[in-house]
Amino acid sequence: MTAPDVQPTTPSTTAASTTGASTPAPAGIDPRGPRVGAGVTAALLVAVLLLGDNAAALVVLGAVVLLFVSGVVLGPARAVLGTAYRRLVAPRLRPTGEREDPRPPRFAQLVGLVITGAGLVLDLIGVPHAVTVAASLALVAAVLNAAIGLCLGCELYLLGVRLRARRTPAAVA
């Protein structure tokens, strides 16, 4: 278990270059897409909270969970909200040459799925206020994403890397 050699990645020259990942980056997406999607998600979560603890709120939260599933499984470009953005919103906006790695927004969708999915499941097995707590947490994350482009899940990702490395020190490096 020696200290790993420092292997600098090739310094990047373009914004679309590697983030130091081992696999080559997939095709970039319009970075405004995930933010618009987060806005739609935030609106749905506000609806969940305003509906209160009842069946209607559960149905809307279920829809949000399905949107997150689509984001995780299909990726931000081909997911329901990503497709809606490309067909309905992007043609009305100024075209942009800016492209973003789709992996971070996909990870954000996974974080959203875990939070809202847990709320849904916990509510169904009778835990009180599960929907309210889950929808509130997801709303904080969605609003931050829509308003300032911050991916809360990505902020936590590095802590996850550290925890994983601590548990399996031999497997890394």
Binding site: T9, P11, T19
Partner: protein, 146 residues
């Protein structure tokens, strides 16, 4: 209704805190262990070391900015390291966010650090703080926005 307002207030609070912290270089405390050996060989005058992750939307943009600043400043190097393959570095320097950027002096000592989105002006300001303004191109007068 209360939950909506609490969530929005919390989001505003987080946004405010991050806006203050993002890209603001501060003095770095030396690592507890022999962390210096974990960093790459320094440039003649200074080195920006950026620790990035795969799940980091701002990392490529920050890397491009620092690369540009390093290219435009003689003796300054830029290196990007993937966090996933440098777990010891993450512990030694208590790295919690990506990107985290270190500014090393010519001897390879970490002098300044920051995290989050970094603008060219912030990077140039940190270089000026480390090297004195003689070595560094003057930041554009437009302020700190990217």
């Amino acid at each position: 209704m209360t939950a909506v307002l609490v969530s929005l207030a919390l989001a505003a609070l987080v946004a405010g805190v991050l806006r203050r912290r993002n890209g603001r270089f501060r003095a770095a405390t030396p690592p507890g262990t022999a962390g210096g050996a974990l960093l790459p060989a320094p440039g003649r005058l200074a080195t920006f070391v950026q620790v990035s992750t795969e799940a980091c939307a701002t990392c490529p943009r920050v890397a491009a900015t620092l690369e540009r600043v390093a290219t435009g400043t003689p003796g300054v190097r830029f290196v990007e390291l993937p966090a996933e393959s440098h777990p010891d570095l993450l512990e030694a320097y208590d790295i919690r966010r990506s990107p985290t950027v270190f500014l090393l002096d010519g001897a390879g000592q970490v002098r300044l650090r920051t995290s989050g989105p970094v603008t060219a002006d912030q990077a140039l300001g940190a270089l000026a703080e480390l090297l004195g303004t003689d070595h560094v191109p003057t930041p554009t007068p437009t302020g700190g926005q990217p």
